[in-house]
Symmetry: C2
DNA sequence: ACTTTTGTTAACCAAATGGTTAAACTAAAT
DNA sequence: ATTTAGTTTAACCATTTGGTTAACAAAAGT
C-alpha cells in the first residue's frame, strides 16, 4: 500500500495539495491536512510555497490551465460543425470523468473571486471560441443548419456535459444508482448529448 | 438607506446569515461577518442559535427546503408532458433568477457532505419524480413521444436550467456581456430550453 | 577534510476564530 | 417601586490555524 513512491518533496506537496484543495476548497483546506496527506512536516509547505494562498494559486493554475484549453482547442480544428460538436462532447465528458471534482472546484473559484479567476485563467487573451461561432453563423447563412444563437448552442453543450458531474450525489440518490450505474449513464450521455445538440440544428 | 427596518434580532440574524453563507459558503463565512451584516453583537448569534453549525443548518434547511419542492411539484400536476416541461423550465429559471447564489451553494453542500445533505433535504421520502417518469414511459409506449431514457431527459432539463447560473461570470466574460445582457439571454432560454427538450421527444 | 548550501524537523508564535460569561440594560409582571 | 425574565454587550477564553525559527541532517562545493 506504500503510496508515496519516490517523488520529490515538492511533488508530494503538489499532489497532496491538489487532492485536499479539490475536495475541501480553499477555505475548507487546512495546511496540516495537506502536510499529513503528503506525509511531511507542515513547515515544508511554506519552505516550498511561501503561503497557503501561493500554494493554492499554483494548484489552481495547474488545474484550470490543464482543464480548459485542451478541449477548447477542438473548436479551432478544421472539422465540420457536426464533427466538432461530437468530439467536443465526448472529449469533454472523458476529461471530466478523469477528474470529477474539477468542475465544482473551478465553479466555486469563479463565483467567489470572479475577476481574479478570469485574469488568472485567460489573462489578456479570450478563449478561442471565435472560430466555431463564425463557422456556425456561416453554415446558418448557407442554410446548412437551422438558425440558432451560437452562444446558446455552446452553453447548452457545456451545461449538458458538466452539470451531471457537479450534481452526481443527488442524481445517484434520486435514481437509486450506485457508482457503476452512474458511469454507465455517463457513457450513454457521450452519445445522447451530441445527438441532442446536433438534432437541434440539423434541418 | 436604512436597511434594518424593524425586524426582530432573530430575523436580522437569519437574513444576514443567509446572505453571508450563500456568498462565502460554510467554511468561508465568519461569525463576525454575520454579526456585522446584521448590525448586532456576535454573542447574539450564539444566544439564538447556539453554534455556527446549528445556524448553518437552519439556513440550509430554509434555502433547500424552499427551493427544491416547489418546482418539483409541477411534475405531480395533471398537465400533459409537454406542458409540464414548459412550466418546469420557466418556473425553475424564474426561481433561480430570484436567488442566483442558491445553486452553487447547494451543489457545494451536496459535494462536501453528500449523506448529510440527502438526509436533511429529502429525509426518508424520495423527491416526487416518479409520476413524470411513469407518464413519459406511458406516452412512449403509446407512441406519442420518442423513446428516450426519462432520467436522461430530466437531467438534460435540469442541466440546461441550472448551469448557466453557476457559470455566469465565465459566460459574461467569454461573451462580453454585462449583467443586463446576461438577463436577456436568460429570458431567451425560458423559450429555448423547453423547445429544445420538447423537440427532442416530439415525433 | 571542511565549509556552504539545501532540505527537514519540532517547537514555537501571533492572529484569528468559535464560543462563553458576567454584568448591564430593558420591559413587562407583580 | 420592585422583582423578574428576557435581551444585549464588552470582555474574555481556548483552540485552531497560518506562519516562523532555530537547531539539525544531508548534499554539494571547495
Amino acid at each position: 500500500m506504500g503510496k508515496e513512491k519516490d517523488l520529490t518533496t515538492e511533488q508530494k506537496i503538489l499532489e497532496a495539495a491538489r487532492k485536499i484543495f479539490l475536495t475541501k476548497g480553499l477555505d475548507g483546506a487546512r495546511m496540516q491536512d495537506i502536510a499529513d496527506e503528503a506525509g511531511i512536516n507542515k513547515a515544508m509547505l511554506h519552505y516550498y510555497f511561501r503561503s497557503k494562498d501561493k500554494l493554492f494559486e499554483q494548484i489552481f493554475a495547474e488545474v484550470a490551465g490543464h482543464f480548459l484549453p485542451k478541449v477548447l482547442a477542438i473548436f479551432e480544428s478544421e472539422e465540420t460543425v457536426f464533427k466538432k460538436i461530437e468530439t467536443f462532447c465526448i472529449e469533454y465528458i472523458n476529461q471530466i470523468n478523469e477528474t470529477p471534482y474539477v468542475p465544482i472546484f473551478i465553479l466555486n473559484e469563479i463565483n467567489r473571486h470572479p475577476e481574479e479567476f478570469l485574469k488568472k485563467v485567460f489573462g489578456n487573451k479570450m478563449p478561442p471560441v471565435g472560430k466555431i461561432i463564425k463557422q456556425l453563423e456561416k453554415e446558418q447563412k448557407q442554410g446548412i443548419i437551422k438558425k440558432v444563437d451560437p452562444l446558446q448552442l455552446l452553453l447548452n453543450m457545456l451545461s449538458l456535459c458538466v452539470f451531471p458531474f457537479v450534481a452526481r450525489p443527488v442524481i445517484q440518490l434520486i435514481a437509486g444508482m450506485d457508482r457503476t450505474q452512474f458511469n454507465t449513464m455517463i457513457e450513454q450521455r457521450k452519445k445522447e448529448v451530441p445527438k441532442l445538440i446536433i438534432d437541434s440544428i440539423k434541418k
